[in-house]
Symmetry: C2
Subunit: 219 residues, 2 copies
């Protein structure tokens, strides 16, 4: 049985691996805000317990066993996020930390009931895909808003859930999942993107646009 702490490590390794193949001690430590020594300790423990393959001085890779846990926790996290929004009226900027704790105290039965109550959702409130009960995850690759061309149109399909501030700001200016927008201009000297959405002209800083992922539409 995994402890709450171990589950969070495993989940983080999973997300680091998606970019880097190997998850280094220091990247894990930084992501979880613990010392390198602590992360190193945990890698030894997780390796002994078969959750990761630990290659000293290189980093770790999740084993099949580790990946199963990671996807389980990600699934529960995203189901909870959806549940908090749909059943308790939370907005998308308030749910991450709640889900970060709830994900660790969720039985198979509770997971299944939440899934059913939500009518088996495929994405969470940030547009991130929810792994299926048997651990399959279909990642759709959307286009970064920054990379969209002037004149093109698209639908907001995923938003980075890293920063509550960004999410709150987007909510305030009326941008959310499924919002349709058109890129009316791209300012070359500072990288700003000017979009039209909800019949409004909205300027977005490059840092903000970096948080928004688009499904292009031809319209």
């Amino acid at each position: 049985m995994e402890t709450i702490t171990a589950e969070d490590y495993i989940k983080r390794i999973y997300s680091i691996e998606r970019h880097s193949n190997f998850a280094s001690t220091s990247s894990i430590a930084k992501a979880l805000e613990v010392s390198d020594a602590s992360a190193n300790d945990m890698m030894k423990r997780l390796s002994e317990q078969g959750y990761v393959k630990y290659i000293p001085r290189k980093g770790v890779q999740l084993t099949k066993k580790g990946k199963i846990i990671a996807l389980k926790i990600v699934r529960r996290h995203r189901l909870w996020e959806m549940f908090l929004v749909k059943f308790l009226g939370y907005s998308w900027d308030e749910i991450h930390n709640e889900a970060e704790r709830l994900e660790h105290v969720t039985s198979e039965s509770l997971e299944a009931r939440i899934d059913k109550a939500l009518n088996f959702p495929t994405v969470d409130p940030h547009g991130d895909p929810i792994p299926t009960a048997n651990g399959e995850l279909i990642e759709t690759e959307y286009q970064l808003l920054n990379d969209c061309e002037k004149g093109s149109a698209g639908i907001i399909s995923r938003v980075s859930d890293k920063s509550p501030e960004v999410l709150q700001y987007l909510k305030n200016i009326g941008l959310g999942l499924q919002t349709k927008l058109k890129i009316v201009d791209k300012i070359s000297f500072d990288g700003s993107i000017i979009v039209k959405a909800n019949k409004q002209i909205i300027p977005l800083s490059p840092k903000l646009a970096q948080c928004i992922f688009i499904q292009p539409v031809t319209a």
Copy 2:
């Protein structure tokens, strides 16, 4: 900040105190299924942290600080139980263990939202009172079914939540909260209680009847 373990100790001390004034080391140990030595350790820790007054060789008593935590956790436990029943279709015999974990990962905000979603319930699915947000608990003293007289009538108002088996059995024979019943007979040689409920004659063992609390009605 309290750990999950400490919260469970505090909650248990609270419930023991309701009968015994002092909670002895061994009573706590037995209730939480840990060794006496472990419980003794924890009493020292809780006492240092001001949650209990520890009188060596006698036992502990919750301080005001401890009582506040106890009631907070009890509140969250019972709100979650109600929520699981009302929003996720759980039955009253399946909810205790889920709530036992969820109670520890519930923020003020989540607690408030659940409370609101349930329209501010005053009792949980077992008829136990839910402490208010500011820590008030109104205990209604019901009559034990065993103590009801032959010929008297009443409404099931509280059921012991100690055993899921009992709860499941009661569900199966059609007895639940608010069920109206009449004591048609009391068998002296084994202590059985024969009741009439839902137009059926139902015999209840003394052990079972001990789990049922009645609000008498004159009818």
